[in-house]
Assembly symmetry: C2
Amino acid sequence: MKDSKVAEPKRLEDEGVTPSASQPGKRERTKQANREAILLAAAKVFAELGYGATTVRDIIRQTDLAAGTFYNYFKSKEEVFEALSDQSALRVRPRLRDERVKAQNFEGFIIGSFRTFFEYAESDRDYFNVMRRNTGALRVRMDTPEIVAGFDELEQDIRDGIAQGLLPDVDPSYLTGAMIGVAFEVCDRMLQREPIDVDNAAKFASDLFLGGLRSMTGKS
Amino acid sequence: MKDSKVAEPKRLEDEGVTPSASQPGKRERTKQANREAILLAAAKVFAELGYGATTVRDIIRQTDLAAGTFYNYFKSKEEVFEALSDQSALRVRPRLRDERVKAQNFEGFIIGSFRTFFEYAESDRDYFNVMRRNTGALRVRMDTPEIVAGFDELEQDIRDGIAQGLLPDVDPSYLTGAMIGVAFEVCDRMLQREPIDVDNAAKFASDLFLGGLRSMTGKS
DNA sequence: CTGAATTGTTGACGGGGCGTCAACTTTGGT
DNA sequence: ACCAAAGTTGACGCCCCGTCAACAATTCAG
């Protein structure tokens, strides 16, 4: 059936145009692209239909992939949502870490942390809204690795701060919880306002915490 | 047809043994019983399998009812969970309200609210644990009527407190969020400890808030 | 008490999403 | 050019869901 003629010119590979970008093989590149296509589609569909109403097929339909392919990348729609959470946490964590490293005292620590978190939430509003509408405001997925890691990191920094005398000697675990709780709940309300006033929210959270911590200084 | 004889002794109804309890007809009583049987079974199964893994049939299997009957009482397993949340909120709300009404100043308000909430959480630990373990998937459902009402009530009380000068003049919505966030997150950590120390957790949350609010007094 | 109407229960059934898998296609190495 | 390895495909079987027509229990009227 096949024409044995070899005259057919090797057609240039469509994707070979950017030589410097071709470091990884084509295999690896498609994998990357597919994964990102699924994540993108998922973010879109979650926002449209809500997490609960979305099916895996709804997501895959937004891509040019087949149903089965989805499962080469994620075990379930829940895992896609976790991956989106991971992405988000992955973006905000370095910023938070920088702020904390910069802090020379507990005021800077508190102010920097809240401000950075609120600023990020405002910039990644789409994701936060999906999260809010579909997970409720309280608590994020505790089985999302990057988020858990972020919480642990915060707690460790708080322990260090206490050890170094930057923070008053209070229960580190409770203090971490309190910061997280205030951050998420105030953030939630901030995002529902028009216009969104990051300054105001950050100031409120910082003032509350700074006053509270100051009053706790010296207590065991 | 009708026998005119009146001599036949009215036989006691089987269920008529407790005359005072027979007010509602049998129909109404079975309905109540079925509903409670389902709620009880659901609480048990959720605790055993986790919310996500539980199916409606798992729940109904723990009762002597048929599958279809479930849907005479609840639309879905989600609605059963909401009903459990409602039950819980229904129990704690009056206690919180009492505490708040009793409060003569903002210190009493804060201390009473946190203490009562933590005490309740410890007493209803089974439900809170189910909620915690599945908060990823559900979180505290923001569409659970009793919970929403409880949040609204807290916010209204905070507004009143501010109007009366019992609380400093800060953003009431943010303050409500901060209290809720701290309450849930600190509660979460409290329940994971052994032994559970309600005093400690309540003291931490109260101190933090009291110090914070005191420092905010006089600020706009 | 008796029959009819009303209300509640039952479990089988159709519908649909899920995750798998054998056949197929594409890639990369020789 | 050929082959092994890796990835893709979509049809399939499974299970859960929510409904519904048939059935049972309760209530009501006479």
